[in-house]
Symmetry: C2
Subunit: 319 residues, 2 copies
């Protein structure tokens, strides 16, 4: 049993919410991880039931004598960091929803009165990579998740960049030239509209692919299917171009990429790197692109990092 | 006569190098500003003669009893911040040229032995906007220059972002979707390839414009010429898209834009703002785009800020 102070970590996403207790070494307390559904069609009451449920379930695993020193929440963006509000793109019923206060009130109802910190999930995952993952010891990092959507976070000169509203790191909404994606949100050149799992599959279907999931596309790629190869190449190159732009702007040293669709094939990374290696600036060519070194626990470890590694975060002048 | 400590400010660009003495309020010492040519075809000896010349000319204006506390150098990128080397894109004869050491040696030959700081010109100009220009009191700022090229610099959470190599801020090399520019450096979607003065003029010429300079294009715009209107609209929108990407990534509050071509018409700013106002993220829509509040002295004030405002810069672990 862990003897260190614990953080209650909460990760809220478009399909599920999870919570767990995480110690000061970034290790999840066995038995403390719980998950409940969220989703596009969930009402505010549904969402509160799920969030409250996982918070209570995780805290029920608190060993006698152990101490929870804070609650860290990673949430799909956009957010309002100062006021603790969230408006996850894929959860239409939550717009400026006070998630930080809601979780604080659930915790208070369980006699837990500790600091509660809310940041974008991309910020949290980047802190996890920097803490115990692929970006340890690197001062200029972008963490990325390529999954249903594309998100990210930034560490610059050893400090986490949240931005004043908490929305720094939206790499999925950086534009990429040449490749036109689907017209989501009226932004067909945003990286996410080109290179997320669903958008990659949609493009492949337009070229004749008959599957419907990223897993099927990965299987077709492994079997040498021509359309799947073209789709993975196109997505890998688009991600490479977005990383080139972010590196031109931020002089990054390392990009660590996780998320379900990033596991399709290691060749996805090869295509990203080909774009970087062909760049005209040496300082762009220097950026390394590596797979995440975190398991599916990454987002929860990141949420815990908001507490255990809070010194890396900018101050938050609250209301 | 200024009673405050003085910085020797040097601004090195693709067509000229300037130097001046600047006091701790960001004011140039009258009579200390000097300029000599650089350029694409200049040899290393030519460039050293010009740089050495303006440094000596500026220092010759040093009033009796006044003190120079440091030398600040802003230089066209890319640079190597740690080693003080420069490789300005438009000055082919300088690749990894030791500009910091060269200027230090010129200063030493004049018995001036003080700290010498080298950063990208975009970093310097952004510090000038933050110090005495349009970005005073704003913590999350991008400074931009739209001229022969497009450059920039970043202040995030009140601190200057240089990047580990010194090249953070290359907004001109961020990609923009949809609009294809000229194929400079093999990067036709880089903002600079679309929206710099010369590239805007080149596009207009392709559409039938017969002028050859940005000034002529601005005059044609003022006269209501249809191609000039289309060219300015296209360039303004491309800059707006790049600012949207940078804001998605960095949650910027303000972008301050100077440079010769930015003065073509205030409508250029209107087109940028239209892109921002139509964005789907409120945190992107919040960014304000304003003209630089600096005169042509801006780059020199910025170079002086490297000394007088050095606390905003990250440390530089030199060789």
């Amino acid at each position: 049993m862990s003897a260190t102070p614990l953080a209650l970590a909460v990760d809220f996403g478009g399909t599920k919410v999870e919570a767990a207790l995480v110690d000061a070494d970034g290790v999840l307390l066995p038995g403390s991880r719980h998950r409940l559904p969220t989703g596009r069609t969930a009402t505010v009451a549904d969402l509160e039931a799920s969030v409250g449920g996982v918070v209570r379930d995780a805290l029920a695993a608190l060993p006698e004598g152990a101490t929870v020193v804070g609650v860290g929440i990673g949430c799909a963006g956009p957010i309002d960091r100062r006021r603790g509000l969230v408006s996850p793109l894929n959860v239409p019923d939550w717009r400026d929803y006070p998630l930080r206060d809601f979780i604080a009130s659930v915790a208070a109802s369980l006699s837990l009165d500790v600091p509660v910190t809310l940041e974008m999930d991309g910020v949290a995952i980047t802190m996890a990579e920097h803490w115990v993952g692929a970006a340890q010891g690197v001062d200029n990092v972008m963490g990325m998740v390529i999954s249903t959507g594309i998100g990210g976070g930034l560490i610059v000169d050893g400090r986490v960049i949240t931005g004043p509203t908490g929305n720094a790191g939206h790499i999925g909404h950086v534009e990429v030239g040449a490749t036109r994606g689907e017209d989501t949100f009226g932004a067909p050149y945003a990286l996410e509209a080109i290179a997320s799992g669903p958008h990659t599959v949609a493009w492949a279907r337009g070229e004749g692919f008959t599957g419907t999931t990223g897993e099927e596309l990965a299987a077709a790629y492994a079997a040498g299917d021509e359309v799947a190869v073209a789709a993975i190449t196109r997505t890998g190159r688009a991600v490479g171009h977005a990383i080139a732009s972010a590196t031109a702007l931020l002089d990054l040293e390392l990009v660590a990429i996780g998320g379900g669709f990033s596991h399709s094939t290691p060749d996805l990374f090869t295509h990203m790197r080909e774009v970087i290696e062909a760049h005209y600036f040496p300082f762009v060519r220097k950026v390394r692109i590596v797979p995440s070194a975190l398991s599916s626990e990454g987002p929860l470890i990141g949420a815990a990092a908001l507490i255990h590694r809070s010194a890396l975060l900018p101050a938050n002048p609250r209301d």
